[in-house]
């Protein structure tokens, strides 16, 4: 009887826990030069980790919900679970600058600080495009 009640409580905890419902829906790739996994679905939110172009990212779905805030996906990258703007993601592996010009890129000898701020730069831009209506 004691075991049964323990099993039932574990079962219900599994259903109602916000973490348990997160499932990996697909794998996408990061397409900008550098970027950040944010703690919250906001471009100003704290960075959990800096990632580079072509990095595989697992998109998490919670009860069919994929998008958070203004166009952010909940993602899992290595040990980190956070948020990233869907503008920076590609379904297929992108043709990254680092891969197109590897020796040129190596010669620049970018520091970790440079990479961090390069990722931040993409978060800080206001993007726009004039189109034919």
């Amino acid at each position: 009887m004691k075991n049964l009640s323990l099993l039932l409580s574990l079962f219900f905890l599994g259903i109602y826990s916000p973490y348990a419902a997160d499932k990996v829906s697909r794998v996408v790739y990061f397409k900008k030069l550098f970027g950040h996994i944010h703690k919250n679905p906001s471009r100003y939110s704290q960075s959990l980790s800096t990632i580079g172009c072509g990095h595989p990212i697992k998109v998490l779905v919670n009860k069919g919900r994929e998008e958070y805030g203004k166009g952010f996906y909940k993602v899992k990258v290595g040990p980190y679970e956070g948020y990233i703007s869907k503008l920076y993601l590609n379904d297929k592996k992108p043709n990254c600058f680092q891969d197109k010009y590897p020796r040129f890129f190596d010669n620049l000898e970018l520091s970790l600080t440079d990479m961090y701020y390069w990722g931040k730069l993409y978060d800080q831009y206001v993007y726009g495009r004039s189109t034919i209506q």
Binding site: F97, F104, N107, Y117, L121, Q124, G128, S130
Partner: protein
């Protein structure tokens, strides 16, 4: 008793086994002796025609060609690794590189107010008939760079816009769009690219440095040129005149826009004359007062 029985059964089998073993050994020896004189060394000269008929020579040629092609491709890939970005990739990369290196001066990493610029500038460009242009606006938290456009990829531009400058002048969305549009005309006229493209850059962009050492100093010099034009030197009177007359021609179609431009220049002129923080503005964009005089319609003498 038991041992005797087993011996009686196994002994005949053992004798038979020994007999067969010897017989097989003798047989195989005689076979070897018989074959040895029959195997002769192959004389390839004699069978060359047969080999040709078998198309083995052609096959060898084919395989050699494939190996040669593979080697060539491998070498090509090795050389391609030393490619330098071409016009399509270089300017966006380098402008961003400069922005990253100057983050402490420009102070762009801060939480910005939402001016909804992406929408207002898009509408302005579309009304002006400037279509299929991509832009990135970076708001900076310094009065040192008030507004500036940097080259990027084809049909893409990076705009720097100072939040303290917007706040001090209390600029409207239309005024901001006009200011950005003026910068767009400047960068489109290649004033910036012409200034920062020092000798050697043309051969660098889109080139390859396989077997050579990469000249990092050239990039450092270019970054210095970026610093000079953005922080100190700015644009010449001739360049300003060209831009102002172009703005005049393009905005004349709508009195609201033209008046907006005229009033904006008036506001800036007052600011640079009264606020010490913005006195450097005249060095970068000479000069709002002159621009106003170029815009004013000529007074015709009536006899």
């Amino acid at each position: 008793m038991m041992i005797k029985k087993t011996l009686l059964f196994t002994l005949p089998f053992f004798v038979l086994l020994c007999f067969f073993d010897k017989a097989i050994a003798a047989n195989s020896k005689s076979e070897d002796d018989g074959l040895a004189p029959m195997v002769a060394p192959i004389e390839f000269d004699k069978i060359q025609n047969v080999l040709k008929k078998d198309r083995l020579g052609a096959e060898v040629k084919k395989k050699k060609a494939v190996i040669k092609k593979e080697k060539k491709l491998k070498q090509q890939k090795k050389v391609e690794k030393f490619n330098i970005p071409g016009q399509g990739d270089f300017w966006s990369f380098f402008s961003e590189y400069w922005l990253v290196k100057n983050v402490t001066i420009l102070k762009w990493d801060f939480q910005k107010p939402d001016y909804a610029l992406e929408k207002s500038f898009k509408e302005f460009l579309e009304k002006m008939g400037v279509l299929e242009v991509r832009y990135k606006i970076l708001l900076v938290n310094t009065p040192d760079v008030t507004h500036f456009a940097l080259p990027s990829d084809d049909n893409e531009f990076i705009f720097l816009l100072s939040v303290p400058f917007i706040r001090t002048l209390d600029l409207s969305k239309l005024e901001i769009s006009i200011l950005l549009f003026e910068d767009y005309l400047r960068v489109k006229s290649n004033f910036f690219k012409d200034y920062v493209s020092i000798s050697g850059v043309d051969s660098l962009v889109g080139g390859n440095f396989h077997g050579k050492t990469f000249d990092v100093k050239l990039l450092e010099k270019m970054a210095e040129r970026y610093d000079q034009i953005i922080f100190d030197k700015g644009f010449s009177f001739q360049q300003q005149f060209k831009v102002t007359t172009k703005m005049n021609a393009m905005l004349k179609g709508d009195p609201k826009w033209w008046n907006g431009y005229f009033l904006l220049l008036g506001k800036i002129d007052n600011l640079v004359k009264s606020n010490i923080l913005y006195q450097k503005y005249l060095k970068i964009y000479p000069s709002p007062e002159l621009q106003l005089s170029w815009l004013r319609p000529e007074k015709k003498k009536v006899l």
